[in-house]
């Protein structure tokens, strides 16, 4: 196992260490100058779990676990351009915390969303911050942080159509997905 990891480390290091500038990137991804020549050869390098762990996360709960059927929680709603949880919304988070206390094998993925106004990229960050704020509440309530992941859709996945204030209100939200 250890040896295997070392081999993979060396492999990744070799891929990453070649060349400089834009050519580095091309070589990293095995692309020739025109993006064709040696593409096939190097993209065969498996992007497996350990390589992923080396370069980034090991995958979200949505990729690595199964959703728990029949368990759902109400979304937490937010004010315009805000990631503060209003006092009236806190009880929703406490219900999720209680469920996680009682079901030790369950984990939760919090999806942060925004209304459509404003910059798409800023909304991605705002949605993430909303999800992170909810995550902070769960951790403060005693839930192990490793059991709570966040994911932002920004303004890409509205719950309600249209451009009314009511639609905007329903779209500024954090949703809970429970996995095992």
């Amino acid at each position: 196992m250890r040896m295997n990891q070392l081999v993979k480390l060396a492999l990744v290091a070799c891929i990453l260490a070649t060349g400089s500038g834009c050519s580095t990137v091309r070589r990293w991804f095995g692309l020739g100058p025109k993006g064709t020549a040696d593409e096939t050869a190097v993209t065969e390098v498996p992007w497996d779990a350990e390589t992923q762990a080396l370069l980034g996360g090991a995958g979200s709960f949505a990729e690595t676990r199964q959703p728990v059927a029949g368990v759902s929680f109400r979304p937490v709603y937010f004010g315009f351009d805000s990631y503060q949880v209003a006092p009236v919304e806190v009880a929703k988070i406490e219900q999720v915390a209680q469920h996680l206390m009682q079901n030790r094998a369950h984990v939760v993925l919090i999806d942060g969303h925004c209304d459509e106004r404003g910059s798409n990229e800023y909304n991605l960050s705002l949605g993430e911050q909303r999800a992170q704020t909810i995550r902070g509440y769960l951790v403060n309530l005693g839930i192990d942080g490793a059991r709570v992941q966040t994911r932002s859709f920004g303004e890409e996945k509205p719950a309600a159509p249209g451009r009314s204030e009511e639609a905007y209100r329903l779209n500024r939200r954090g949703e809970f997905g429970v996995y095992r």
Binding site: G56, E121, L124, Q149, R151
Partner: protein, 399 residues
């Protein structure tokens, strides 16, 4: 000679038929007159070449077409069985250059050849960077979690879909090689930064840490990516070294949101959006010292910064209820009172490599927006292409 006149009449009619697409304000003022009368064209591809060249020269902002112009393009663009052969001499008082090229018969090949000559003329005659050969990447959003990426040439032709995912896609940016695209996609369910050839093809993840991976832009030297990661707890500006894979966090604002990092032309600074002051505004950070300084105070929001090669920053500013495009000089200090645009929302500006033109999106109504080219040199805005839809987040290639 008669044949040339006929061809030019056809070209003129074709251009006139495109209507507002080529409207140029201030015709004549400050522009150099180019005569294409001496260019003999033959065949369909010869005519396409001349038409594309004329359009490119006008769109460059530096030239107007005038049969009596002192800048003369002479020679031939002749269709042959195996393609188009161009033998041209471009002359203007005291100077000239010869340009002999050939291409395949395909429409994209012929257009590319015309783009190359137009860029050579801008370079030789004006000493400026031409943009006819550059391209634009953007998002087409069809509905909730239903979008794909498209590219087209700088003149709006050659529109092509380069992803077929029908899922959220955010913030496409050209790599500095002009051949690859970086963007935030959801191929594995969570937002990750992917890189892939602009011709389409396999997406490779560049950053897929837990939480948010977004807003990636490659540094001018191609070695580093600036991006937003939340792996340390909340969205912050980071750099990712493409050789070592190492990440560095450049901002530390546990109670604020960062977004949209964009590199300075020399790669020493990054302009980005932060709501540290309560609403999104622009900040500039020194990559080496990690020190940030606030750039904008006017307007209720300032977002989507993009740094031009000549040092100016274009951005979208929310003033009196609508987003408009503005330009500031971070080194001179101060913010503009005026905006380049007015009326409906204009967002997501991206500079062309000539530091003169800007492509941005413009709201057309519920769920619809179009892409426009603005000219900071004074010409009227030009719509990139006329297909209706929800087109957004354009990024202009460096090459």
């Amino acid at each position: 000679m008669k044949r040339i006149a006929r061809v030019l009449a056809v070209v003129g009619a074709a251009l006139a038929a495109r209507g507002a697409d080529i409207t140029v304000r201030g015709e004549g003022t400050g522009k150099d007159a180019v005569s294409l009368s001496g260019l003999a064209v033959s065949g369909e591809s010869g005519r396409l070449f001349a038409q594309t060249l004329q359009s490119d020269l006008q769109r460059s902002g530096w030239f107007r077409i005038d049969p009596a112009g002192q800048i003369q393009v002479a020679g031939s663009a002749a269709a042959r069985p195996d393609g188009l052969a161009v033998a041209a001499r471009v002359s203007w008082p005291g100077k000239r250059f010869d340009w002999n090229r050939s291409s395949g018969v395909g429409v994209p090949d012929v257009r590319r050849l015309a783009h190359q000559l137009a860029d050579e003329m801008v370079r030789h005659i004006k000493g400026e960077r031409g943009i006819a050969s550059t391209r634009v990447v953007f998002v087409n959003r069809r509905g909730p979690n239903n979008a794909d990426l498209f590219v087209c040439d700088a003149d709006g032709s050659g529109l092509a879909q380069i992803t077929q995912d029908a899922m959220a896609a955010v913030g496409p940016k050209w790599d500095c090689d002009g051949l690859h695209i970086l963007y935030t996609g959801y191929l594995r369910g969570s937002p990750a930064v992917y890189r892939f050839p602009a011709t389409g093809g396999r997406r490779m993840p560049l950053a897929k840490f837990n939480g948010l991976n977004a807003g990636a832009e490659v540094s001018p030297d191609g070695r580093t990516v600036a991006l937003i990661l939340s792996v340390t707890g909340n969205p912050e500006v980071h750099t990712l070294d493409l050789s070592s894979g190492a990440t560095v966090r450049l901002t530390h604002t546990p109670h604020a949101v960062e977004a949209s990092p964009a590199w300075s032309p020399d790669g020493t600074r990054i302009v980005y959006v932060s709501d540290a002051a309560g609403a999104p505004h622009l900040y500039c950070l020194d990559v080496r010292t990690k020190r940030s300084r606030r750039l904008t105070y006017k307007g209720s929001e300032n977002v989507n910064p993009d740094w031009a090669p000549n040092g100016r920053i274009a951005y979208a500013t929310l003033r009196a209820g609508s987003y408009q495009i503005a330009v500031l000089d971070p080194d001179a200090g101060g913010e503009p009172d005026g905006t380049l645009t007015s009326g409906p929302d204009h967002e997501d500006p991206s500079w062309a490599p000539d530091s003169r033109h800007i492509v941005c999106s413009r709201a057309e109504g519920p769920g619809r927006s179009s892409l426009w080219i603005l000219d900071t040199g004074g010409d009227s805005p030009v719509r990139l292409f006329s297909h209706s839809g929800n087109w957004m987040s354009p990024d202009w290639s460096d090459k």
